[in-house]
Symmetry: D2
């Protein structure tokens, strides 16, 4: 059933999200976009009030805010205050954005407002693994003096990103090794046709790899491990802070490391917008709307 | 470190397991195999006592027993009683077998004996998905008058078997659709390159499939759903009891269904023995042995 | 543009071909099918004359004839003579069948009649590699006591069948090795992600394989090579006469060999009929019809 | 058997080739490399004479020469004359380089000298398709605002590059369509699991693709075709001159095109050196050395 969406601020993803929603037949009102071409399918509102009025869903940016006060707006040079959004929201409306801080969530709950962190949705996290894996492969292709095909690649961790990245590397023709801790993950890795490595034994093999992708968000490749890594290897870290590499030590030893964060919005904003749309629909579905 | 294993009864898997263990340098004593060639690497004992004496691990069959009294012995025509095994076991020994009934487990625990149901180990279940998927594909190849390549295939459920089966069907060139309930599974299915279908909507599409594989252990394809399935379709049910198909109704309607159970031991006993070995090593590792 | 087809004799493939042609909007007349259900979309003619009259294309069986006199008819107990077909054909009609003997082709040409051996069409041969590969995999799944997944598989020859079979085996998870003679084929094999083996060196590696598929139509696995093959290996020969294995010697040595011929018609007659249809359209297209 | 190689000039590929040859146990003499670190495994000669003396094989650069007089030297600021190489060569020596002009080949033959254009070797061309495909994918990942996964991709041509590129795109999860002219190629495309499109009908579908890769070295995407391509599509041309796109017209219409040439040396020089080594061994093998 057609709904009304207010899309407030954000980057290219939110703009594309607005278009996608409009293409599906929804009414979409936009606020916080200047100096960028806006599709005639959506209405560009003059005020936050107009945009939010009568909206079923209010979509904010990913990440929502960097200063806890204003929301991120790539294409707008005035400030949009979170306080104003809160003030204008009704209890029937749903607020959706990414990386909501605990204080924002707390505040919303205090006012009995419904809010959802889209990045905490498991399906969004799974889908985001796709552009993350492609971004990691792009970096590897750019940086390596050898082909990924026939290269020895190691993926540390077999979670959401590890699963998709392994599949794509295998699809390009790399010799994919995956290190994991749980027996059942090791069994799954073998079942998928990759070479499983028990995490505690991974340091023994490190010097054999041309490229190492880390997906585990705690330091796995520390001083000791780094000493076993070849100088012509490349390490790409995809884990959020603190990352999985001792970067300082890596620099000292001359091991090339790249810490690649927030890839989905960078490498495939249009696709990321599509994932947002699908996930918002799921949120509505779960809410019985 | 080399251990002593007693392998008691069972089918070809236990015999192969014994050989595999011996090849890894362990001492292996066998009991319950007659009229079948036994590798010189293992010792064929004259009594249960001799076999179990000084063993670190006692391996029983999969399934352990059909009557709760004697253990399964494909190659032995006398009876081996569970009671005798219990009586001969010491608290230092580990008993490993498959499909242990609650009463056996209870009994063992009462005597302070260590026992492990190998089929309850998650990694064993994951590995068993490989021969199960191959067995399912074999049946499909035997029964279908069209190639799997370019066929429209539906996999119901995206658990252990669903994951491996989808991958193999995709590898052969089928157009793989997977139905699941959870959003995150649907996202994972899309990430893997298959076509996701929401389980509640699956009945809408049933008439488009050439072959349907069920992996969900409750009735999903009931009277209503069966009416939507083409007469030239094939349904292969891989789910344990009660299965996922209303078989009686299917028969009435002339829809071809095959209920394929316990495939690993049937289609690839030698590989199943290797999985058993790996899993027993994990059990020992977890037990600090 | 709609045409008129006469489908004369043959097996299930010709019957399905007739249905497929009718579904595409062509007029289809059938002769040589009794005691089998015939789709109402085609007309079952009472005589060869009626069937062939006004037909643009006359389709015979695969293979066309075993005795050079009558055509193959699985579902007809009277004889249909090739002479009669020749007598009834006009120069505007096109005759299409499989395995046309040189004498038939010669005879047709003498009468200025147009005939095409569908199996000599390169695209038909390529497509037939699909069911052939599936049939080979089915046999391997049935016969091997281990899973294809993780097995060491050797494909001898990288022609039409070798290409498709390698891809499917790889898709199931086998460790695929392909032996070929030409450098460029070996390079292509490597590019596809399989392990290339130079044909002259293949005998060195034979004892490492769990299953060997031959696609080369001359004896490659002779006495000497057979001695290097493990007794628990399986050899599946897909090559037409004389095949690629010294079968007699293999039997003496206790090496299990299976010579699998004419798989497409056996394992996937409905798909084979679809390939026939597509190829007949190509023939018409090439003929400017 | 160990040989002596003289590697003369060229870029990073020749330097790596020299190292690879030395690692295989050959004696390698280098000339034409300054201001770059040279492995101690090879000897850096002071003169062309010293380098070529007693060499079995003289390896020049890819491409050999841009001016028909001097050979390409990325890491050398003095000139090395082709005339000098010719003068110093004996009839027992083999000269190997890439893109040999007809006049050089003619000159060599006049002096009865053996020369081989390594890029004319079919296996080298097949192997070079691997880094070419990876380079094309890298460009697509860099330029597209959507993921390759689930994108609609078209590959024009199913030759060496088309085959590898299709496989890799499929492995990443793109919906791969391949346009070809020959029926047998279309059949092969279908057998590999891609969607075949007949070349004459390709213009009908052009507006549906997110990315188009051309591998055919004559203009296929001309004014008319360009008009059917979406403005948010990306065209990557991998064909050598004159390329397959009317670039001028594309620019006028605002269709984004990238002409990517000589990718192997750019994206994977170390791998390209390995291919050179393997191909040189094949040349020696063919020459009975």
């Amino acid at each position: 059933m057609a709904k009304t969406f207010a899309v407030i601020g954000g980057d290219l993803r939110n703009l594309k999200l607005a278009e996608h929603l409009a293409e599906d037949g929804h009414k979409v009102k936009l606020f916080g976009f200047k100096n960028i071409e806006i599709s005639p399918k959506v209405t560009d509102e003059v005020s936050l009030e107009e945009a939010m009025k009568d909206s079923d869903v209010v979509v904010g940016p990913i990440p929502c805010s960097k200063d806890e006060q204003t929301i991120n707006c790539t294409f707008y040079n005035l400030k949009i205050y979170l306080d104003d959004i809160l003030r204008l929201m009704s209890k029937e409306q749903i607020f959706v954005a990414g990386f909501l801080s605990e204080s924002i969530i707390h505040l919303m709950q205090n006012y009995d407002l419904q809010c959802h962190d889209i990045l905490k949705r498991e399906e969004m996290a799974v889908l985001n693994a796709i552009p993350t894996a492609e971004g990691a492969i792009q970096i590897a292709l750019e940086e390596m003096p050898i082909t990924l095909h026939n290269s020895k690649a190691l993926v540390l961790g077999y979670g959401r990103i590890g699963k998709v990245l392994s599949k794509m590397l295998h699809g390009i023709g790399a010799k994919v090794h995956v290190a994991a801790r749980k027996y059942q993950d090791l069994a799954q890795i073998e079942a998928m046709g990759y070479i499983p490595i028990r995490m505690p034994e991974v340091s023994t093999y490190l010097n054999t790899f041309d490229v190492i992708f880390n997906t585990v968000p705690h330091v796995i490749i520390d001083s000791k491990e780094l000493q076993g890594i070849r100088k012509d290897s490349l390490i790409i870290d995809l884990a959020s802070k603190p990352g999985g590499i001792n970067f300082e030590k890596a620099k000292d030893l001359g091991v090339k490391t790249i810490w690649a964060l927030s890839l989905p919005g960078k490498v495939a904003p249009v696709t990321a917008a599509k994932y947002m749309k699908d996930t918002i629909y799921n949120i509505l579905n779960d809410s019985g709307l």
